[in-house]
Amino acid sequence: MTGVGLGATMIPNMPAFGKIISVEESLTPVDVALKKKMADVALNAAKSKGATYADVRIGRYLNQVVATRETRVENISNSESYGLGVRVIANGSWGFAATNNLDNASIAKAAEAAVAIAKGNSKLMEEPVQLAPQKGYGEVSWKTPIEINAFEVPIKDKVDLLLKVNSEAMKGGAKYINSNLFMINEQKYFASTDGSYIDQDIHRIWPTFTLTKTDSASGKFETRNALSAPMGMGFEYLNPKDSEKIKGGPVTMYKKRYDILEDVREAAVHVDEKLKAKPIAPGKYDLVLDPSHLFLTIHESVGHPTELDRVLGYEANYAGTSFLTLDKWESKKFNFGSKEVNILADKTETGSLGAVGYDDEGVKCGNWDIIKDGILVNYQTIRDQAHILGLKASQGCCYADSWDSIQFQRMPNVSLAPGNAALSAADMVKNVEKGIYMFGRNSYSIDQQRYNFQFSAQLAYEIKEGKIVGMFKDAAYQANTQEFWNSCVQRCDKNDYRLGGTFSDGKGQPGQASAVSHGSATTRFNGVNVINTGRRLG
């Protein structure tokens, strides 16, 4: 992309997509009857040109961002992207086209273009597409269960909250503070030749900050990011509630209500500790991983390798393939992890980013086991791959990040079940002789088949003989996925269970972003290799 250049990601005031609209406009949804009419135009045009299957997605994607630093607002953007994408099977091959001109002629033209592309590509196919059967649901709808629509909260309230966050940070001695609030509303309509007309209204929110302190004499600087999670919730996530906090450890932890002011005050103290932290001695440590950290390790080392399209080689050129090959699943005894490891795929958990009623090819969502008592038992799949696993139906993992992107297999929420025995994080720490207690995501990297990974944390506390004695710096753990999950020895109970997640899981060419959550309770892994990442320049 030479036309774009190195600074493309830094252009201010440039909305990520779509046109800027007023708040009032964003609150008025498009009439369902009109959407059904447009969908039928596309489906009929596709069928008349020879499509044996067609689906259409009419998407209105609203995106609001409030970005501040120190005492000023850097950017407020309220944008909309609205259009229609049609996907067809013709001559056994997929074709796709999209348009944002929503008159009947343009919609029909897009459907015809999709059929033409499908027919043109059919000569480059080894075998025809096989779709798992899917019954039509008729006219149905689904909505994220939110209490407060974030798009209805006045911008001024959001700006005031973030500037208060910044002011608390500066009071705590921060040199720099960036705070941001991201809100997403996907108003999605799906229809297919199977007879489904599905209207969905999906909400997500993510408040976050980065607090920085510098020591100009030494030239050192340290940061701490927010320990919030992006959630499938409304603005109620930002209304603190004591019953949703876990206190008593070195860090206050948040469940489904987040106290951003409290977190930033703690962050200011943590950065002082980070600036004075002692370098870690490399070696084996027992790791106690908080859900705010562990979610990303689950995402990379369990979520991605169990995506069936990766296993089959569809992502070989970019995201990569998977070490969890079909023979390991077929054996029914591949020891992915210890008996403690029970991993559930889920598209329904309240508050999670992956929760929807139906996926982007009209399949009703549910949940299923991926790892059962340490054994690989299933993958994540969509309609054109279900037959490979001998499944009679898709698992509902299809998603496209926009009306003009082609839907494909994306990760559902993939979560580690909490332990059955009553155990708090504070009690877990008491039994650790030599360990590290990690919070928050930091650096993360994993190979293209998901064997070898390296992770670091926002905060890494030293545990010595059952007590937290200080903070380490430059600590990163490196492990092999199977060895790591086999070193999982203990999980806290469901009272400690929390969601972490990301708005921007990247996959595909051209790249698409997807939002996904991963839940767990605090979990212990024994004898993991930890390296020191400190270096000196010059």
Binding site: G5, L6, K19, S22, F96, I117, K123, Y318, S443, S445
Partner: protein, 445 residues
């Protein structure tokens, strides 16, 4: 709709600007026609095309500014978007860092960023290229997965201070991973051009196929410090992290690898080996880029690193004015001066070392030292006495491009390459580096 000519863009922008009632108004217009085809398991998986146009209007009253965007171009929509940006500007808090828009600028001659052959590409040309690639893979009993995309687009800028700028460009990108049937060998190639006729998908597939076949039965070699030869695409993903960090403000604020104790920056310091010369040049014949930046500043030839010394940092107009440094925008690409040796000659001159085709999943570990971690992928080989001896298992590395460019042994001949992480094109040489730090082994193929 087809991409707009300079005259059409000027007429559209002039009309839009005529609706403005703000103290200042600036309009960015961009549009592109693009298409792609993706394949895996020796079959096409997805393909599609998009045509997008967008108009971004920024209006300002004093230090209050508002931005609105639209993708409809009838008169009513054009007026609506201008009004909306004005409403947003009036509602916005005052931005103390707001800079008045630039007046007319002097740009250098047009850069050859546009190629008619790429602009004419359609689904058929893409399918034909993919067919040639697939036939090559199938003939060798290999499995190919690849991606070919092309785009033709324009960007234009006009403001109420009399500034007008226009650029049209084309891009074509091709990358391919080829695996042996048993999955034990994997090879990769990537190519990027402005001109589609320069792309030889079959030849790129042949390179990936050769690497796949010769990487079967890789042996495990102990991790540690090794002399490595990094091919240009591996160099790209390391060095771009250095380029991304050359922002003056972050350096001045004491929070980048360009900061140093005492609140100073590394400008003027010997940061790297004295053979390291990195510059940007919008008129480079192999990597032409736009002669103006998104905010209207001229793009010129800039020396970023000269003989290993930091010569320039880029800065926003606000930061440049505040600190009194030269106002240089982020460049459209970067070029590292190479030597005269081919990759083969570098290998020939190496007693013991590792040849790295590609580095993958690069993430920053420590922003102060620019320490990065990631892994080798799709073709890693052991070199002994000037010859490739055998394939080796992939490694995880922990290394900083700053440390790496101080451990420089030799530079090969520069060529245009693409970062597999950012998709940005560069001109970079293969590099021979001593003491490159591999910290563990990976079983990934």
């Amino acid at each position: 709709m087809p991409i707009l000519t300079q005259e059409q863009a000027k007429a559209l922008l002039t009309k839009t600007l005529s609706y403005s009632k703000a103290e200042q108004c600036e309009i960015n217009l961009s549009g592109a026609d693009s298409g792609n085809i993706r394949y895996a398991r020796n079959s096409v998986s997805t393909s599609g095309g998009t045509s997008t146009n967008s108009l971004v209007v920024t209006s300002a009253f004093g230090k209050k500014s508002g931005t609105a965007t639209i993708n409809e171009f009838d008169d009513a929509s054009l007026e609506k978007v201008v009004r909306r940006s004005e409403e947003l500007a009036k509602l916005a808090p005052e931005n103390p860092e707001f800079m008045p828009f630039l007046g007319p600028q002097k740009y250098g001659p047009e850069s050859p960023t546009f190629s008619e052959s790429t602009a004419k590409m359609g689904a058929k040309e893409r399918a034909d290229a993919v067919q040639a690639s697939l036939e090559q893979a199938k003939a060798n009993k290999l499995t190919a997965a690849g991606f070919l995309s092309n785009s033709a687009g324009i960007s234009a800028l006009m403001n109420s201070k009399g500034l007008f700028a226009y650029n049209k460009y084309t891009n074509v990108a091709f990358n391919i991973t080829v695996k042996t049937e048993d999955g034990k060998g994997s090879g990769y190639a990537t190519k990027g051009y402005n001109d589609f006729t320069k792309l030889n998908a079959e030849a790129a597939t042949a390179i990936a196929a050769k690497k796949a076949l010769s990487s079967v039965a890789a042996r495990a070699v102990e991790p540690g410090k090794y002399t490595v030869i990094l091919e240009p695409t591996a160099v790209a993903v390391m060095l771009e992290n250095l380029f991304f960090d050359m922002d003056a403000r972050r350096a001045d604020e004491g929070r980048s690898s360009m900061s140093k104790p005492g609140g100073k920056t590394k400008m003027g310091e010997q940061l790297l080996d004295e053979r390291v010369n990195i510059y940007s040049d919008p008129w480079h014949p192999e990597l032409p880029t736009a002669v103006w930046s998104g905010d209207g500043r001229p793009q010129e030839k800039v020396n970023w690193i000269e003989k290993g010394i930091v010569k320039n940092l880029y800065a926003s107009r606000y930061w440049a004015q505040k600190t009194g440094i030269k106002s240089i925008p982020t460049p459209g690409g970067a070029i590292m001066q190479g030597g005269t040796k081919s990759l083969e000659e570098l290998i020939k001159g190496t007693e013991k070392g590792i040849l790295v085709t590609r580095l993958w999943y690069i993430r920053p570990v420590d922003p102060q030292t620019l320490l990065l971690t990631g892994l080798t992928r799709d073709g890693t080989f052991y070199i002994e006495n000037g010859e490739i001896k055998f394939p080796v298992k992939n490694f995880r590395f922990n290394e900083s491009p700053i440390i790496m460019l101080n451990n420089l042994e030799e530079l090969g001949k520069s060529e245009r390459t693409v970062s597999a992480e950012s998709n940005i094109n560069y001109i970079l040489p293969p590099l021979k580096i001593r003491d490159f730090t591999f910290t563990s082994l990976s079983d990934a193929i």
